[in-house]
Amino acid sequence: MIMAEYLIPYISPWLAYLLVGLVQCGLLLTVVLLVAAVCNWLERKVSARIQDRLGPTRTGGRFGWLQSPADGIKLLTKEDLVPAAADRRLFLIAPYVSFAISLAVYLAIPWAGGNAFSADPQKAHDWTCVRLDAAVFFIMAVSGLEVFGVILGGYASGSKWSLYGAMREAAQVISYEIPLGLCVVIPVLIAGTMDLVQMGNQQSGWFWNWYLLHDPFTFATFWIYITCAVAHTNRAPFDLPEAESELVAGFLTEYSGFRWTIFFMAEYGAMFAISALAAILFLGGWNGPIPVAQILGLTWEHGAIAGYAGDVLGFCNLFAKASAGVIFMMWLRWTLPRLRIDQVMTTCLKYCLPLASIMLAGVLAWNFTLPGRMFFGISPGSPPRMEKQAETMDESSSEGVAVSLSRDPQERIANWQFQIANCKLND
Amino acid sequence: MDTLPLLLGTAWLLPLASFALILLFGSRMGKAGRGAGFVATAAIVAAFVLSATALTVWLSAHPIEAPAGHSSATADSAEHGAAAKENHAADTHASAGETTAAKKIIPPVAGDWYELGAFGTKRITIGYYIDALTIAMFFMVTMVASCIHIYSFGYMHEELSEVTDHQVTLASGQHLHRRGRFHRFYQYLSLFCFSMLGLVIAGNIAMVFVFWELVGICSYFLIGFYIERKSASNAANKAFIVNRVGDFGMIIGLMAVWTGMGTFSFGDYEMKDAQGRETMRPGIFSQARPAGNDFQLQAPDGMVKFAKRDEIAEIVQKSENAADAELQIEKRIDGWRKDGFGYGWLIVAGLGIFCGCVGKSAQFPLHVWLPDAMEGPTPVSALIHAATMVAAGVYLVGRFYPVFTPEVLMVIAYIGCITLFIAATMALVATDIKRVLAFSTVSQLGYMMLALGFGGWLAGIFHLFTHAFFKALLFLCSGSVIHATHTNEMPRMGGLLKKMPYTGITMLIGCLAIAGAGIPWIIGLSGYYSKDFIIAQGLVYQHANPLHGWLFYFSVAGAGMTSFYMFRLWYMTFLGTPRDKHVYDHAHESTPSMLVPLVILAVMSVISGWKVPFTNLELPALLTQAIPSGTEEGAVSNLTKFYIPAEHLSHESGVHFFATGIAFLMALLGFVLATAFYGTKRLDPNDARRTFATLYRIFIHKWYFDEAYQKIFVRPALAISGWIAWLDKNGLDWIADNSARLMGLCARLDDWFDRKFVDRLIDLVAAGTYRLGIRLKALQTGSLRQYVMLLAVGLAALFMIMNFYWNFAMSKM
């Protein structure tokens, strides 16, 4: 939107805003499509490596890197079939629903932190489409919606296999949303905010500031999160909705050509998004294991150019982490056998859910007994979070009313009162 | 400005000349009087040209200024600009009530042509009163009339030769053969045009009354054009007699005006006084709203004096000479006026005049004649019983508006509201194509009355104009259909669009216009604008008077029903499968002389609400020039504590926005229902008819008005004469005979009473309780959806009660 204001002197305002909006949409779309294309190629390569094969080697040189475009062209030229028994309107629209929702998740994901402790959110320069107050919550809500397209597609196909697949998908995704939500709540609890930008910035510094290494419970939570995330995105070993050996191809049975591709892009988009979320929540987001940017002075304190350079670095970091997450999921897919549906539900309700609850309680207890300790409670060096927060509060910048967890009730009340006074100062 | 009276006067007299010519030489004009048509058409077209010239003259003398700040969206957004600021300032200045300097009053062109007689200080003249409203009416009337004259060439061509009337069977069992009456038809049309234009141009209320009666007699002639048909002659009689009832009230109003104001003239006029000097004397409007009183309504001196005539007589007796008495009366008259004397006479005058309008405009309870008037030829229905004559009532209310007190306006609003609602309900079920249109006309006239009663002078008059165009169009289209199919019954039509594409499409345009179709908040057909004005005014009125908010809701419901029955008509006529093979095969598109007027009127009903590009010229703005001074700011009733809101409130963007939304929503609902029932046949009309069996019965019997009048007025008259005859024959004998028989009866009655009554009383109580239980049992139907509906009804009722009475209580605080 800032860009639009530069354009306004030259063209009429509404056109400027429209243009900039379209450009931004296009950028986002490109990212997702590229991710999907690369993932498709990667999947072939990874699976080949695991199965001791070479994978695609012919199309476009030695690594077969033109395989995805070639596949895309093949799929685009296929006939777009609609079964006679299908509910035509829903059948046609379902892939787009799925894809649009998977795209919408990207609205709230920050790609780099920008000016970490800026007083004014307008000047934070974080790399987010829409910086939301409740970004974590938003992403959870929207990523849960993705199943909607699948159910529609499964129902509308008018085929038993598709319907079975869709029903399985619904049951699975709605069930796994609960432990996944519990896992997400844990970093939120530690950070005291649901704003992803703030959460990422609180993990800046060395790798022991990552929430993954905050305490033993968060470490365990991360693995539960990964399990649930895999199930949530319907990847093997939880790919029951499209189990080839049982349901032909599940909800995808009746789809072909372009619409099938769209479904696939939605799946890869969701995988990438949920990996990026994991990276931000547990793996420090755009902060590398070693704070190279800070050491080189590439921060916003040293001017805008340095800040942007640091942000580019951070973006690469986050992208690498998210990609690692995707590759990890592929690795899982090609090594583990598929579960039975009852096993899937058992994993969710009998293992993941209780474990996540225990982790929640554990993190609570840990924070009450050992508040502010990093790196398994050992705390090498002072935690930057507290320091910075105190600073900003002195500047009366008001980083919001963060709920801080403290052992002593007296201290907690004092903390509140401090923050309240802070609020008053602002007004 | 002597050109205007000259132009309009000529335009007015041309049809009279045509009438006279046809009267004398009609049957000898061409073959079977064909030339009569040309004479009449030439006269009315010339009148139209003169009217258009007059309009140009008027506009060049009083150009329309840029719209004021709040009246349109463009000005609203331009408020940032410096130019708009001045405009805005001027506007606020004007609305502050400083009518003397800032606001431009456009004086009407008034004067007399001829003095019929003078009686002391009072006199009766033939005069004119020309303002923007007169000019616009002239333009509209001559235009519609021209179209209809041309149309009639095609429609009435059968009258050029020998006619066999299949609807009249003679005693010999044969159908009636008679000579064609082509020239006579045009002769009546010319007479009508002359009378209508005279009614519009009239400079005093007496002249209005004369032409009022003349248009009435023209209507009588033309309804009874097929005089040999029993139904036609009955309808003509009915129209005539029902109108007399209204005219009776009007005469009372005239007497009140004459007594109270001493003049019939609308505008101020010059007159020699006793010393022979020329002095200006105030007309009706100046007396009711003197400039000295800031154009606010007050009882005229004459009425105050009349109300206090006893006391004045006393003063005159006591004082020594006349001048002294005069002085004393002058001194006390303001005090009396403040005490409310004379105000009652103002109400009487207003109600009386309105009575006449009720009759002519077919308002409740005198609306019964208009549907029957459809016996006349269709061009007549279009011209007289839709576009012009019946609108004359609305015109008169608009013309007499300055004299109406808020109480009279409330009566007008209520009458209008009742009319619009019951007429719309009748239109929902009628199957005769012309009757649907007739009910629609009554309903739309009710709309206009309602708008005027709401204080929306502009809204009501604007609707009068747009309605004239699209209703004339609709009638002519229906005439085209009837001409092609030789039947009025819609159930025998269907699928005619393929056979008559021009008629079908122009009629669709008419339906869209009357339903108020448009793209909300952006653009629409003419009806869209005028209906929005009315709904917006209603919204403001409802906010000002929660107690009378019912009126608004009924008007909104009326908008929905309008859309429903119009599209029902169109779908039944033009879409679907042909229901009567014979009729369908026989149907054909009409001749060009009938189609050209259709196209002209269709264009007018699309564009008449629009602004002429690159100018400020638009119909509402032109009419705004004629808004009576002093009425813009609304009024407060002193008697019953309610408010007539100022009209400019309704032009505020917020109100207008929601009014448009509501109007559009209702029109859409009507359209969707009509489509569901008659277009796509998703719903079955018979199903709905069964569900609302009672309502259907009431609607199809036209709310039993004819039956009721038959029972209340006609039968008793016959019955009383019967009784007297009967009494004469058997009266006294019967008494003697029966007193003896009565005694025996009494004894038996006593016995019967003892057994049947006393005993059964106790039985009845028990049985009643039992039956009540059975009845109440049915309330628990177990139908979930019915409960939901009842819940919704309860909620709506609760909101209504809160809306009206709680707000009412708040306003009292």
């Binding site: - | 969206a73 177990g782 139908s783 959806r785 819940l791």
Partner: protein, 111 residues
Amino acid sequence: MELLTQPIGLSHYLVVSALLFVCGVACMATKRNLLGVLMGIELVLSGANLNFVAFGSPYLQSKSLGMDGQMIALFVIVLAAAEAAVALAIALNYYHTHATVDVDKADELKG
């Protein structure tokens, strides 16, 4: 056009919420499918929620309900979820006993 250039007022929200509410009522009143009725209820509740949020929004009115508006809406959402759970359980039970979810068939206790 003025709708596009001027900020939105409270009334606009109220009108939208009224329309949603009314659609919900229509849905409840016309659907014979029990689940359709439930959907109508959801619509009604979301219409009511929109009302609360609009009255609580500081962007529409200088003297708004404040946080109360959002809070009540939040509770309504939660309770709606609870209501849906119970209603679905009832629907399931009803289906077990009647082999249909037509509410018009559920009139065995009628008078």
